[in-house]
Structure formats: structure tokens, C-alpha cells
């Protein structure tokens, strides 16, 4: 019996993934002319539209390759589908790490999948830049090899509250939200930020998903007369809420929405400009999607993916790809995984020219993007704002 146990233990140990970060491990997935990067995302399934987020990043790799690569090495993307499913995502990560033996990982939409991947990737030690999923728990607590390259839910929540408080004389803030974790991921950090700045929400309301009328909530708000309303609602419910707000004569109160809603889509849903004229949303970019600052990025994507239809998601991962290339440059030609991670931790106030806020990674904090801009209608046109009345 003891012999069998020993055999099983020996088998287990022999097949266990090599954790020893020796020289071979340091340069795995690296050749003289290529750096292989595992790109995981939902390329199939119900959330396949999120895979657009990875297209911009891969187009940026192609651009760098056309310019000669990094220290003569091309960036070679190895795509794996997660289908936004945790088991499939784990299989994808294990394939990339243990079979394809990529040098590093970048990508991942779907926070649930990324959360499930975290222990496996952390244990592997392979550098991973999260380029779309927003859950704070993916990169907090700190893991040596995990870097967040987009604003997290917490960063967005704080950005919402900061914008609200940037409006002069804002003292009375109300919050309306869905009773789910998605809404809480925005409202909790927003609430914390408000309280840090001496403002306690005067009214907290719930509007459930699928609700087609917001009269009860709006009537309560009318009694409270808030200076600003924070709305952590999905787009359909946002349109209903804004419609009812205007109906009861409160259309002049500004409303701050999440990154889960789009300004122009909300206008399309309501079909009435007056309803959305005081609506503001989190917007992670330096310009409107069709603005001049975004145009070169759109052209870059179309150069390498001519059939790609651009959306908000198309641009989100490009900033972290730029930061990666900068770190690879800084790490030098004798690249190793440890050198790359050290170089990533030296990225400071990196202006991507596309994300509204810079990327900073330090040895103590791998959540690189600490804020977001806000989009709202100014003089009838969608405008990116840094703060109340202050264009980007």
C-alpha cells in the first residue's frame, strides 16, 4: 500500500508543472525573432462581441511588427477562446501556458473568467496583462505577475463620484442602482469616495432590472431635490429612468451613469435630446469614438482588420498593448520574464494617447489606470470631459 502511495506521489510530482523559475522558464516562448503572447478572449458564445476588445490590441501588435518589432522580435499572438466560460477559460490558459508555452498573456474580457484564472496564472508566474475585464479582485491583492491595464470597476466608481463633486456646490447626492453586483461594483467605490469628501448620499434607491417604470423612485427624488444623481443602471433602465425624471419636471438634475451605458445609444433609446441633455457617462478615452484623436486608432484597426466594425470595445485594449511594448523596449534585447515584469513595474504616468488616464504600475500596485474621463452633451454635442465644465 505504501509502495502504491509512493508511486502515486512520484507520478504526481513528476507531472506537476515546473514552477522552478530557471533560465529555460525565463525565456520560454521567446526566440531571436519572436515573442509569443497568449491572447484569451470570448471569440465564441454569447459574449463574443467582447472579443472586439482584443482586436485593437492585436492590430497594435501588427503595427509594431510592421515597424520592425521590439529589439528585432515580432509580437506573435496565439489566440485562445474562453467563450466567457470559466472552465473553458481555464483550459485555454493551461493550453497557452503548458502546451503552447507562450512568453506572456494579454487580454481577457469577462471578469468571472479572469477571476477563475487568477490562481492558475499566479501560480505559473507567467506575466499577464489584463486588457479588458474590470473586476478589482483580478489584480487585488497584488500578484507579482498580474497587471491590470484598464480602469477597474473601483476606479470607474471613484471617477463617477469625482465628476459629481467637481460640479460646484454639490452637497446633496442621490444614488439609484440595480440590486446586483455589477451595480455595486460602481456604487460602492462611488459612495466611499463621496464619504471621504464629506458627502453622504441623501437618498439611496433601487430600480430592478426589467422595470419599465420609475415613477416611484422619481417621486422620492422630487421630495429630496438632489444636486446630482448617480445611476448604476443598465442602458434600458437608464432610458426609462431619464424619461420619467423629465416627465416629473426634474430633467435639469444632472445624472451620472456607468461605463455600461453609452451616451448616444441612450439618446437613441429615449429618442428625445431633452431627456439626455444632462446625462453623463464614464468614458475611458481621450475623445469621442468618431473624434479626431481616435481616428488614427480606428484607421490602424481597419488597416489590419478591414472588415472590423468599430465599437466602444474596439479601442479598450490598445493602451495596455502600448505600455507592454514600452516595457519590452525598456527590458532590452536580453529579454526574460523577470526583466519584463520588472520593466512593467517601472511604467509611470504612461500616456497612451487613447486612454483618458495614464498607466502607472509600481511594485506595490498593479492596477495601472486610476481613473476615467466622462462624456456628456455640451452645446448639443457629445464631449469628453475631465471635470464639470472642463473639456478633455
Amino acid at each position: 500500500m505504501r509502495r502504491i502511495a509512493s508511486l502515486l506521489a512520484a507520478l504526481a510530482v513528476s507531472a506537476a508543472p515546473a514552477l522552478a523559475q530557471d533560465a529555460a522558464w525565463e525565456t520560454e516562448g521567446l526566440t531571436d525573432d519572436a515573442i509569443t503572447i497568449g491572447v484569451m478572449g470570448p471569440f465564441s458564445g454569447n459574449a463574443a462581441s467582447y472579443s472586439k476588445a482584443l482586436i485593437g490590441m492585436m492590430a497594435y501588435y501588427d503595427k509594431i511588427n510592421d515597424e520592425g518589432g521590439v529589439h528585432g522580435r515580432k509580437l506573435v499572438a496565439v489566440q485562445e477562446d474562453t467563450a466567457c466560460d470559466s472552465a473553458k477559460g481555464l483550459a485555454a490558459a493551461k493550453k497557452l501556458i503548458s502546451q503552447d508555452k507562450v512568453f506572456m498573456l494579454q487580454g481577457n474580457s469577462c471578469s468571472g473568467v479572469a477571476l477563475a484564472l487568477r490562481p492558475t496564472i499566479e501560480e505559473s508566474g507567467v506575466p499577464w496583462i489584463v486588457a479588458h475585464a474590470v473586476s478589482d479582485s483580478i489584480s487585488d491583492p497584488l500578484a507579482k505577475n498580474i497587471f491590470h491595464g484598464v480602469p477597474t470597476g473601483g476606479a470607474n466608481g471613484r471617477a463617477m463620484a469625482a465628476f459629481v463633486l467637481s460640479k460646484p456646490d454639490t452637497k446633496n447626492v442621490a444614488i439609484i442602482e440595480h440590486s446586483n453586483d455589477w451595480a455595486h461594483s460602481y456604487s460602492n467605490p462611488a459612495r466611499a469616495y463621496l464619504e471621504e469628501h464629506g458627502v453622504t448620499p441623501s437618498l439611496e434607491l433601487t430600480m430592478e432590472r426589467g422595470q419599465t417604470d420609475a415613477t416611484a423612485q422619481v417621486l422620492k427624488l422630487r421630495q429630496e431635490k438632489p444636486d446630482f444623481i448617480i445611476a448604476a443602471l443598465y442602458e434600458a433602465e437608464t432610458a426609462i429612468f431619464l424619461r420619467d425624471l423629465k416627465k416629473y419636471g426634474m430633467g435639469d438634475i444632472p445624472v451620472m451613469g456607468t461605463a455600461g451605458t453609452d451616451l448616444e445609444n441612450t439618446l437613441k433609446r429615449t429618442g428625445d435630446f431633452d431627456t439626455v441633455k444632462n446625462y453623463y457617462v464614464i468614458h475611458s478615452y481621450v475623445d469621442n469614438l468618431d473624434g479626431p484623436k481616435m481616428a488614427p486608432w480606428g484607421e490602424m484597426i481597419h488597416k489590419y482588420y478591414p472588415d472590423e466594425e468599430l465599437s466602444t470595445f474596439s479601442f479598450v485594449s490598445i493602451g495596455s498593448a502600448e505600455a507592454l511594448v514600452a516595457a519590452l523596449e525598456a527590458a532590452g534585447p536580453d529579454l526574460t520574464r523577470s526583466k519584463l515584469m520588472a520593466a512593467l513595474e517601472e511604467v509611470r504616468d504612461f500616456d497612451t494617447g487613447i486612454l483618458s488616464d495614464p498607466i502607472t504600475w509600481t511594485p506595490e500596485d498593479h492596477q495601472g489606470v486610476k481613473g476615467s474621463a466622462v462624456a456628456g452633451f455640451v452645446d448639443g454635442s457629445p464631449t469628453v470631459l475631465k471635470a464639470w465644465g472642463q473639456s478633455y
Partner: protein
């Protein structure tokens, strides 16, 4: 020619049953973390398919609560491990017990005489109700964020190690497959099939049909509940969306492709349809297409599933519902 196995074939079948898991003991020598992960997933699918097949194949009840049993097992394991600090390995039988309890609850509708499409809808609703509970009982289940499994070691090896998990999963799978085979070969197993063929005639033989139905649902829940506990450790994080309609459809397809009411079929269906998506990884979006084509092709060419093909090849693969030599 009789399809009954000769004594020699009976012996060969016993040897084969034990030879397969014995050979599998050496599989980790030929796998990497990825392929081992897929094999581990196959073992879980075998149990899920087996439990499902028992109710819809052996018992003949159109009940779709198995995804609920799977979720109950997974959440029971996660909650017992994370909240009460019980070592994961001990949560496996406990998750099986919770799954059996789920099976008992799901059988209540059948015991009230509800059958056919009505039973299908009620059991589907049971599954959705459980998913609602996973989403909304946040202090217990973690809500939409799900529940991470705590890090643990066994024999000094981390339980995140796919090889160690493989040996545990294999032991649990062999135990439950053998247990189910023995159960189906017993007087109880024959009563299960008698209920499927004619419930009223079965009752006229003084067989307590209600008890048979209840016990089959409970055994199915136990098998699938244990699979849920393995799944919790396999993925390391339990999310509500893992126990929805997609999981149900995949399990149903495994049962049909393998062969309704066949233990061998459950194994074949689970292995084939767990491996297939991995082979199609390089072609995103093709998985659904091939999945549908394979299910359609098998059902048209072999309506009794892949197990029937093997039975035609040799009586060794004929499943018996009696004790040999008795």
C-alpha cells in the same frame, strides 16, 4: 445468435472494467497541465451524464433537474470548504448527500403523479430556482462574483495540481460508476426499469414504485452532487452561470450520444463530447456546429447511442441487470 455473454466474456468484461482505470493510473506520465485538465473534466462529465441517464434513461422520467444537483454539489462543497474550513476531500461525500437531498426534492413532483412534459417543465424550473438562489443568497454563495475555493494541500501537494486531482477524481468516478452498476444489477435496478416500462403493472407486483422513483432521483442527485464537488475543485471558483441551460443541453447531448440508460454510454458520450470542443479550439464558433452535427449523426445512425455500436461488436459490452452466477 444470442447476445448474452459467455462465462469467458463475462470474465473479460470484469477484467476490462478494472483494466481501464488501472491503465489510466499511468496517464499523467503522458499529459501536460492542459491535457490533464481536459481529462479531469471528462471524469466529471462521466458522473454528470451517468446521474442524468439514470433518471431519464433507466427510470424513464423526463426530468431535467440534474444541472440543479450539479450546482447544489458544487456550492455545497465550496461553502463547506470556504465558510466552515472543512477539507475539500471530505466535502465530496457531503456534496453527494446534498445532491441526494436535491434529488429527493425534485422527485416530489414525480411522486405527485406529474409526468412527461409537465415534469420536464417543473424540473427545469427547479434548476432555474436554484440558480436564482445562487445569485441572490450572496452572503452564502458570493452572488454573481461566485465563490473561490480555498487553497489546500493533500499529501503535501497543492490541490491546484491537476495530477493529484486526477487521481482523486478517478477514484471517485470508479467508485460511483461501480456502485451504480451494482445498483442497477440488483433487485432495485430491475424495479427501476419495471417502473420505466409500466408503472401500474410494476405496482401490481407489490413493488413500491414511489420509493423506487424517490430513491433513483436521490441516487442520481448523489452521483451528480459528488460531480459538483469535483467541479468546484476542478475550476477553483464556483459561478452561478456554470449551472444554466447550456450545461443542461451539453449533458443531455452526452446522454443521447452515449446511449440512454447505459452506464457505458454515459462514459462514451461524456468522453466524446468533452473532448470535441477542445479539438475545435482552433476554429472558434465551429464547436456549436460540430456539436449539433455529431448529435444528429449519432441519433440518426445509432438511435440507441454509441454504446449500441459496441454491443453489436461484442456481447462483452452488453450491460446486464442480473447477478452473474445467481
Amino acid at each position: 445468435m444470442s447476445n448474452m455473454p459467455t462465462p469467458r466474456q463475462q470474465s473479460l468484461r470484469t477484467v476490462l472494467f478494472w483494466a481501464v482505470p488501472a491503465a489510466l493510473l499511468f496517464l499523467p506520465l503522458a499529459t501536460n497541465a492542459y491535457t490533464q485538465f481536459i481529462v479531469n473534466g471528462m471524469l466529471i462529465s462521466v458522473l454528470v451524464t451517468l446521474g442524468f441517464s439514470l433518471v431519464i434513461g433507466n427510470l424513464g422520467q423526463l426530468a431535467f433537474a440534474n444541472t440543479a444537483f450539479f450546482g447544489i454539489g458544487a456550492y455545497a462543497s465550496a461553502i463547506l470548504s470556504a465558510k466552515l474550513g472543512i477539507p475539500w476531500i471530505l466535502t465530496v461525500p457531503l456534496a453527494g448527500a446534498f445532491g441526494a437531498l436535491g434529488g429527493f426534492l425534485a422527485s416530489v413532483a414525480a411522486l405527485r403523479g406529474i409526468r412527461s412534459y409537465y415534469l420536464a417543465i417543473i424540473t427545469l424550473a427547479f434548476g432555474e430556482l436554484m440558480r436564482w438562489a445562487y445569485l441572490h443568497a450572496k452572503p452564502l454563495t458570493g452572488g454573481t462574483d461566485g465563490m473561490p475555493m480555498p487553497r489546500e494541500t493533500m499529501f503535501g501537494i497543492s490541490l491546484s495540481d491537476d495530477t493529484l486531482k486526477f487521481y482523486i477524481f478517478l477514484a471517485v468516478t470508479v467508485l460511483l460508476v461501480k456502485g451504480t452498476l451494482n445498483l442497477m444489477r440488483s433487485r432495485f435496478g430491475r424495479a427501476v426499469m419495471a417502473v420505466r416500462e409500466n408503472e401500474i403493472a410494476t405496482a401490481s407486483l407489490a413493488i413500491p414504485t414511489a420509493r423506487v422513483i424517490l430513491a433513483t432521483f436521490a441516487w442520481s442527485g448523489l452521483v451528480v452532487g459528488c460531480a459538483g464537488a469535483l467541479f468546484a475543485r476542478h475550476v477553483g471558483h464556483v459561478f452561478p452561470e456554470s449551472f444554466g441551460m447550456l450545461q443542461l443541453i451539453a449533458s443531455f447531448a452526452m446522454v443521447l450520444v452515449g446511449g440512454l440508460g447505459s452506464v457505458l454510454g454515459a462514459v462514451l458520450g461524456a468522453v466524446l463530447l468533452t473532448a470535441l470542443p477542445e479539438y475545435l479550439r482552433a476554429f472558434p464558433g465551429m464547436e456549436e456546429l460540430f456539436f449539433g452535427l455529431i448529435v444528429a449523426a449519432v441519433l440518426v445512425a445509432m438511435p440507441r447511442g454509441l454504446a449500441s455500436l459496441l454491443r453489436r461488436l461484442s456481447p462483452v459490452f452488453t450491460e446486464r441487470y442480473y447477478r452473474e452466477g445467481a
